[in-house]
Symmetry: C2
Subunit: 206 residues, 2 copies
């Protein structure tokens, strides 16, 4: 093995899984290295600290999730259908996680936000940026829906997008607590209410 990018990827893979399963504080560098099958020296070659590793895990997780969000939310489908695609993909991710490890792991960003935001300023500010980026991506779709008359004219697109991100996090929390990805199923219906989608538009969507 040794100090190859392969070792770096193994550390990142092991750290992501362990962070999702057990959170940050319960985790030690030694355990990450054992799980990744790399010597401890490799760890400190690639990462200055456990926190630096966590930041890298967060960044890579968001880079991958962001690609998915942008693809779904900028497709050529109707704006409301794009939102539904996003919610369905979010639920599918949790179902896949449950199939793989037996347990719903929830949202890595939400988990770390609640565990760490009052303890690690650098992690807090990174997670703030990610949630604001999520809100912006959803806001653009709501603006499009409003322009087409598919959402209430009085809806504040930015605030509604913020509520949707909050909803996703709240539902992911219940899904993890109950080990039940179906907790995410209502995101779509609730969003139609939050966006004050007119009845005839709803009927056409079903």
């Amino acid at each position: 093995m040794g100090r190859t990018s392969d070792a770096r990827n193994k550390i990142l893979g092991a750290a992501t899984t362990l962070l999702e399963q057990r959170g940050y504080s319960a985790l030690g560098v030694a355990e990450i290295c054992t799980t990744a099958s790399v010597p401890k020296g490799s760890f400190y070659y690639f990462f200055e600290s456990k926190q630096a590793l966590a930041l890298t895990v967060i960044d890579e997780h968001w880079a991958s999730q962001r690609r998915q969000w942008v693809e779904l939310l900028s497709s050529d489908r109707d704006p409301l259908r794009r939102l539904r695609d996003l919610f369905q993909a979010t639920e599918a991710v949790q179902r896949a996680g449950q199939r793989k490890g037996g347990l719903v792991v929830g949202c890595l960003f939400g988990n770390l936000a609640l565990e760490l935001s009052n303890q690690a300023e650098e992690i807090r500010s990174r997670l703030q940026e990610i949630f604001e980026a999520q809100i912006d991506l959803i806001e653009q779709v709501i603006v499009e829906a409003k322009d087409l008359g598919q959402a209430g004219a009085s809806v504040d697109a930015h605030e509604a997008a913020r509520s949707m991100v909050a909803q996703i996090e709240g539902r992911a929390l219940l899904a993890k607590l109950l080990n039940d990805p179906a907790q995410l199923e209502t995101l779509w219906r609730n969003s139609l209410d939050l966006l004050q989608v007119p009845p005839q538009v709803r009927a056409a969507l079903d």
Copy 2:
């Protein structure tokens, strides 16, 4: 000092504060005892383990919060106003926490749900019971609102209550992450949308 109920209360007080600030895994029994100014022997006289202590903190926190919820949600005010009272009280609790310690601590149950539900079955099941009890308390008020024609007839009271608890958790997460209790302000307006409250009822509430 010694093995008096005073020592038990000191341990519980210190544990609650530390759990809110830093979560469960980052916390040791020795630190709890130092913060509480009690000898370690006292700890194990009152609590079998750190997990047993956490369960007691959860139970006492819920006993107190439940009293507040029941008082607010069974007052003789209009059902929707009672919901607003609950949301305002929830925000006030976070504002008070921020004034006291400088940081929004979020919801203790939500924090522990994300940190621990996949690691400690007893804590998971206790938190499940608490969230289900919260959902039931809110559901009763929604049923009353529906009976009075203040919420849409097609609204599923149980599902709407579940969405409100999810919303509270999602907003508490943003409030903690952004250290901004105002993130909870929109709970009320979003709930009016989720409950499909007719325009004339909304106008009378403002």
